[in-house]
């Protein structure tokens, strides 16, 4: 199919799409006028019923907890898929690059970069943990905090040399964090069944509204999701960096 034919086909399809989208969007309530009764009800009920102040967290991890279970497993499946796609293929080997010209002097990395990376990454770990643990109180939670935690590792890559990090990187720990996080969600869901209620029922003590330990299973689920996302995103970065730094075509 030439580009011309493809563009013409797209024009026809886009016209149909635009018409359908237009009809659909025109049928929506006007912007900013109202929210659904369901949302208004949850906004009023969630703080009293679940002792949380961030209603988004209560919806994500409690009222619609099953959705989030599947969402977490989509992420797990994607990380597993990428690990499979980016493995060393039959004509490739894993080999740390060697210095081919040892007599040539390489300027040492600036201590300022080291210092900045150490400072930034510790700050990111702190922010990540804060975001994960305060998901029930303020905006944030496991998904957001997990990404921030993983980005602490990215800063270490930037501030140092990836090949050096690759030698000490706790791959097993990252993979365990990813897997334990995913299975932890199911285990916490099973607590509900053990207590004689439904799967993922909020059966743990709710605590006082506004205290860091409140909301029953919601902060626990935030913790396991945080572990899963942090491990998953760290694995992602190392898989992609391995492609340029460690995986080589085997010489024939």
């Amino acid at each position: 199919m030439s580009r011309r034919v493809r563009l013409m086909l797209f024009a026809v399809a886009a016209a149909g799409l635009a018409a359908t989208l237009g009809v659909g969007l025109a049928g929506l309530p006007s912007f900013g006028a109202q929210i659904t009764d369901y949302a208004r009800m949850l906004n009023e009920m969630a703080p009293r019923q679940r002792h949380v102040t961030d209603v988004v967290s209560a919806i994500t991890f409690d009222y619609r907890g099953i959705d989030t279970l599947f969402e977490e497993f989509i992420l797990l499946a994607a990380v597993a898929g990428i690990s499979v796609l980016l493995r060393p293929l039959s004509d490739e080997i894993r080999q740390l690059p060697r210095d081919k010209a040892p007599e040539r002097s390489i300027p040492p990395p600036s201590p300022a970069v080291w210092l900045l990376a150490a400072f930034l990454s510790s700050l990111l770990v702190l922010t990540g943990l804060e975001t994960v643990t305060h998901g029930t109180l303020t905006p944030g939670g496991g998904f957001q905090g997990g990404v921030i935690l993983a980005s602490a590792l990215y800063v270490v890559y930037l501030g140092t040399n990836y090949v050096t990090v690759e030698r000490f990187q706790p791959d097993a720990l990252l993979e365990a964090s990813d897997g334990v996080g995913a299975s932890g969600y199911i285990l916490i869901g099973l607590l509900g069944l053990l207590a004689g209620a439904h799967f993922l029922s909020n059966v743990v003590g709710l605590g006082a509204t506004g205290s860091p330990i409140s909301g029953g299973t919601i902060p626990l689920l935030n913790l396991v999701v945080g572990a899963e996302v942090a491990g998953g995103f760290a694995i992602l970065a190392s898989e992609f960096l391995d492609q340029t730094a460690v995986i080589r075509t085997r010489r024939r």
């Binding site: 580009r3 886009a14 989208l21 912007f31 929210i35 994607a78 990380v79 796609l85 303020t138 992609f240």
Partner: protein, 115 residues
């Protein structure tokens, strides 16, 4: 106001798909798909918006008079972002392997290398 708000969604979606159709580079194609996908985020947040509304976080109630916006839509937007990130990462991994096998990232050139 409605026309502008929903027009942005339609424009972002269609321009993203246009980029996918005409792309000459797989990385560019993945970015275009992200643009189209971001239209759904914006649509979700717009449906949940209420004029003068505040975030659905009730930390210190007296400081936030007035209605809260729709928290359900914000939770759905979170799901959307996570799934979008997963899809983007998976497609980029595919692009890496395509480049390794075919030596090109141009989708049109790929067809020529098949036989």
């Amino acid at each position: 106001m409605s026309a502008l708000a929903y027009g942005v969604v339609a424009w972002l979606f269609v321009i993203g798909i246009y980029g996918v159709v005409t792309s000459r580079n797989l990385i560019h194609l993945v970015v275009c798909l992200s643009v189209a996908q971001s239209a759904t985020d914006i649509l979700l947040l717009e449906i949940g918006y209420r004029s003068g509304g505040h975030a659905p976080v009730f930390v210190s109630l007296p400081a936030h008079p007035g209605p809260a916006v729709d928290a359900v839509m914000q939770a759905l937007a979170l799901t959307d972002v996570v799934v979008g990130a997963a899809v983007t990462a998976l497609l980029l991994a595919l692009a890496v392997q395509v480049h390794k096998r075919a030596g090109t990232l141009d989708p049109d050139a790929l067809r020529a290398t098949r036989d």
